[in-house]
């Protein structure tokens, strides 16, 4: 079969195509590039110069070296599910797509670890090892399509990270192509605590600005022996949030502890996976405990008792796995469900100290009233990670800006009560300016100093994570305030 030819006068595109083996591994026509002008954050768009599809580490290294030598900006992309714009080519980057590097390289059950390529889809790992009773713990809602490489870049979380931790707690080793093309291996052989600064921890969550990960060794866990899931309906939000605190104070570490408010419930019930939640309740909690079978019932009865003490309207334990699965499908598709009640939505990702939940929810309510936009709340209540979803209609002039400003105001509230601006979605381009809510200029510089060590020419994923210095930031802030 003859390969298609690369027909362009752009020598860089011809040379990049040569590195990856020709026209079948590169996109450069405008109509092909349109699919790559944004990721899961769709408010800002920009076309890349080209998209290349390397098949192995060596090709990634050669591509990176070529871009670096020729001063072409570049970035890595997985499935493009990121919610903060980390993979948007704001500088017309060459996108190095890692979707063809999607093999499960090795599973070592005895030592509880697996090695994957970055394009390997999160849920596929659990599916590949579940017959032996193992799973991979980080479970972002997009796990059916997001890649583990992207999870490493974003330090992705998920509903079950309350007990089991986020991606960084499960990464044992990485092969990384540095921005100069050099290939390094950190966390060698997956052995913990290798001597030296913890680059494994630093690179995980660096949003693709320090290097491109080409192999990942992850920890795999044995399935818990037993699992029980509870659904509790509350007539007011503060009873629900106090129940959250009481469960934690009782010394229970649930595997997951999720909350949805009335607007969110309206959306999930109108979308593809309704489970029949009452429409007139103000909040629901989805609580899961897992572990040794002999200890589960005791924890469940404590949880039921806590809910009753907090005036729960109805509380029930999942009868079987299929009921549990339906409850989770309803929750995990919560963001997309907003489409059933609003043309557009913007999801935020603040984190607060758990004890401030009632106060923060009432302030978010006020932001909603002031902006005239509805805000639904879906959150990982156990660890204080809120996802306010600002509902808007982009066709109405000015609403997008209003939504952005309302989202930013929610993050300001989180920062004010001692929290942070993102718990699992990353900063990307979306929250660059909001970094100032939680860090001083000096603290931001301490971070960009580290970036300079790895990425001195700032060709790799430039313009992400950190606010732009000086006046631009102030002007943008003023614009947001004016919009409010």
């Amino acid at each position: 079969m003859a390969l298609k030819e690369v027909k362009t006068n752009d020598k860089h595109i011809r040379n990049l195509a040569n590195i990856v083996g020709g026209a079948r591994s590169i996109l450069y026509h405008k109509e092909d590039l349109l699919a790559y002008d944004c990721d899961g954050f769709t408010i800002h768009k920009h076309l890349p110069k080209a998209v290349v599809f390397p098949k192995d580490t060596q090709e990634v290294s050669k591509l990176v070296k070529y871009c670096s030598d020729n001063h072409l900006p570049f970035l890595a992309r997985g499935a493009g599910t990121g919610l903060s714009g980390g993979a948007i080519p704001v500088n017309g980057e060459v996108i190095i797509s890692l979707v063809r590097m999607k093999r499960l390289l090795h599973v070592d059950f005895e030592n509880r670890r697996a090695m994957v390529e970055p394009g390997f889809v999160n849920l596929k790992l659990t599916n590949s090892i579940s017959d032996k009773g193992y799973y991979y713990a980080p479970d972002p809602s997009s796990q059916y399509c997001c890649t583990i490489g992207g999870n490493v870049a974003e330090n992705a979380g998920g509903a079950h990270c309350l007990k089991y931790g986020v991606t960084t707690n499960h990464i044992l080793g990485l092969e990384v192509v540095l921005p100069n093309g050099k290939i390094i291996e950190i966390g060698k052989n997956g052995i913990p605590d290798s001597p030296g600064y913890d680059l494994l921890g630093l690179i995980t969550g660096s949003e693709g600005t320090l290097g491109i990960v080409t192999k990942i060794t992850v920890r795999i866990l044995k399935n818990p022996e037993a699992k029980q899931t509870v659904l509790a309906y509350f007539d007011n939000v503060s009873d629900g949030s106090r129940a959250v605190s009481d469960i934690i104070s009782a010394g229970i570490v649930p595997a997951a502890l999720e909350m949805m408010d009335k607007t969110a419930i309206e959306a999930v019930e109108a979308a593809a996976f309704p489970v029949g939640h009452p429409r007139d309740i103000e909040a629901l909690l989805l609580i899961e405990v897992d572990g040794i079978s002999a200890g589960i019932n005791e924890q469940i009865s404590q949880i039921l008792h806590v809910c009753e003490n907090r005036n729960v309207r109805e509380v029930k334990v999942a009868k079987d796995e299929s009921e549990r699965a339906r409850w989770w499908a309803n929750r995990k598709t919560g963001f997309g469900a907003m489409g059933a009640i609003s043309p557009d939505y913007l999801v935020q990702d603040g984190v607060i100290p758990r004890s401030r939940l009632p106060e923060v929810l009432s302030r978010i309510n006020k932001i909603s009233e002031e902006s005239g936009l509805r805000i639904a709340n879906i959150f990982h209540a156990g660890d204080g990670n809120l996802h306010p979803l600002v509902l808007f209609d982009a066709r109405i002039p000015g609403q997008t800006e209003k939504a952005l400003a309302a989202g930013s105001a929610c993050l300001q509230v989180c920062a004010d009560v001692g929290g942070t601006i993102t718990g699992e979605h990353g900063v990307g381009i979306e929250k660059r300016e909001e970094m100032r809510f939680v860090f001083t200029d000096e603290e931001i510089k301490a971070q960009t100093d580290i970036r300079e060590v790895f990425n001195p020419d700032n060709l790799l994923n430039a313009g992400k994570l950190f606010p732009s210095p000086g006046r631009c930031a102030e002007i943008k802030k003023e614009m947001k305030e004016a919009a409010l």
């Binding site: 059950f109 030592n111 986020v166 605590d193 030296g196 913890d198 010394g251 005791e298 984190v351």
Partner: protein
């Protein structure tokens, strides 16, 4: 003369009584200072560092001093900055399950306070009454219960630091989930104080276990196939041991009175779940093994004893022999080979060697005692052995003079230039814990 002018300068920076001259120089473990300063506020730490940075004075940083013999090629720096008087709880809201403490707070003091709230920091470092939280984080120390609860990188959620130029830098935050910016906490955990002085630490807490048991499974015949097969069965089951530590016969004798390979298996959960797991272990107990079970305080006492068997840099050793401790990282079950080799070397090198290996995570601790040449030879031989298993060996405790005769950290990795780059950005004048870390950083 130099000391006098240093003393005069520091006197203008700190209140009287917080500066001592001479006490800490020429210590057998090195890592001392001509002058010791005891800041009591962050502002005072800032003043000392700004001064040292401006005049290019070398500063050694110390908490409780338990790790004084861990790395370092300087016998006496200009200034020994002790955080032992910078201690106490800054903020604790029980409902948030987080705590912020000053770096010089001894670990045991912190745990005692938290126990009143039925909470704990889920770390189990050595010498908890002496070791400070700052030192534990700085040296990335973990114990056997790492299997169940992780290491400092899993529990630290925020740090406040004073950079060498005096800037106050916060990393992370006070909430349990946070991806705003780089995960800078990780850079400082285990950095051996070579980048900045940690002043405050914010930690994620866990509830105290409702019930605890310790199963001691002794293998009098020392058959490794039998140990391995039992460990594999336990790890493949759905049981959730908080620790699964194999002890060398010598260490087992010290801790349990029985001189044979012994597995220490810890379960922490609600009482019914603990007993259920004990039953499971009984059901797979290999023949020709002996099983003892300790509960609650008795189990706790065993671990407390284990935490104090190694050398402690804060106590002046009276032993005539040389004491050393090493940390070894290998792939999980290779810990079996490491312990076997260590036990063999006890006789071949005429040393007392006590070791334990975490068979769920692959980290081993080995303590050696004997003539200094024998200790050095044994460490080098053990490192060679471990490197054949693709692992690493770090010397955690050794007198200053002997540290000059071997590499505490082993070979530099090929990406060492990144470590140097990081050091150069954060501490360009190399004032902090100079030569204490990998490759002389």
């Amino acid at each position: 003369m130099i000391t006098t002018s240093l003393h005069t300068d520091l006197n203008s920076l700190l209140p009287e009584g917080q500066i001592i001259t001479g006490e800490s120089k020429s210590h057998p473990l090195g890592n001392g200072g001509f002058i010791t300063v005891f800041p009591k506020t962050e502002k005072e730490i800032e003043r000392v560092l700004k001064y040292a940075n401006g005049y290019e004075k070398k500063v050694c940083v110390q908490g409780g001093g338990t790790k004084r013999g861990f790395g370092g090629l300087m016998e006496t720096a200009d200034i020994l900055l002790s955080l032992s008087k910078y201690k106490g709880i800054v903020e604790h809201t029980a409902g948030n399950m987080t705590i912020t403490v000053k770096a010089g707070t001894p670990f045991h003091e912190l745990q005692t306070y938290l126990a009143e709230h039925q909470q704990k920091v889920s770390l189990d470092p050595a010498w908890p009454e002496y070791a400070t939280i700052g030192g534990i984080i700085g040296a990335n120390e973990s114990g056997p219960k790492r299997l169940g609860y992780g290491s400092p990188r899993d529990v630290v959620i925020g740090l406040q630091m004073v950079y060498p130029n005096g800037s106050m830098i916060r990393t992370g935050g006070k909430v349990v989930k946070n991806v705003a910016g780089y995960d800078m906490n990780k850079l400082f955990i285990g950095s051996m104080g070579t980048l900045a002085v940690i002043s405050e630490v914010t930690l994620k807490l866990r509830p105290l276990a409702k019930y605890e048991s310790l199963m001691l499974l002794a293998f009098p015949e020392g058959k490794f196939e039998s140990i391995r097969s039992f460990v594999t069965s336990l790890l493949e089951s759905m049981m959730e041991p908080a620790a699964l530590e194999l002890l060398t016969p010598s260490l087992s004798e010290t801790l349990t009175g029985k001189k044979c390979y012994t597995l220490a298996i810890s379960f922490e959960d609600v009482e019914s779940a603990v007993h259920y797991q004990e039953e499971f272990v009984r059901s797979i107990q290999p023949v020709q093994t002996n099983l003892d079970i300790l509960h609650q305080k008795e189990a706790g006492a065993f671990w407390e004893k284990l935490y104090t068997i190694g050398p402690n840099g804060a106590i002046d050793s009276t032993a005539k022999e040389t004491e050393a401790a090493v940390k070894i990282g290998v792939t999980n079950l290779d810990g079996l080979h490491v312990l076997k080799e260590s036990a063999l070397m006890q006789d071949s090198h005429n040393l007392v060697i006590e070791g334990h290996a975490g068979l769920g995570h692959g980290l081993c601790q080995v303590n050696l005692k004997g003539a200094s040449d024998d200790v050095l030879q044994a460490i080098l031989q053990l490192r060679k052995f471990v490197e054949q298993l693709n692992g690493y060996l770090i010397v955690r405790h050794l007198p200053y003079v002997l540290r000059q005769q071997l590499s505490v950290w082993g070979e530099q990795p090929c990406h060492f230039y990144l470590f140097e780059g990081i050091k150069a950005k954060v501490d360009p004048n190399r004032i902090l814990n100079d030569q204490r870390f990998v490759g002389g950083i």
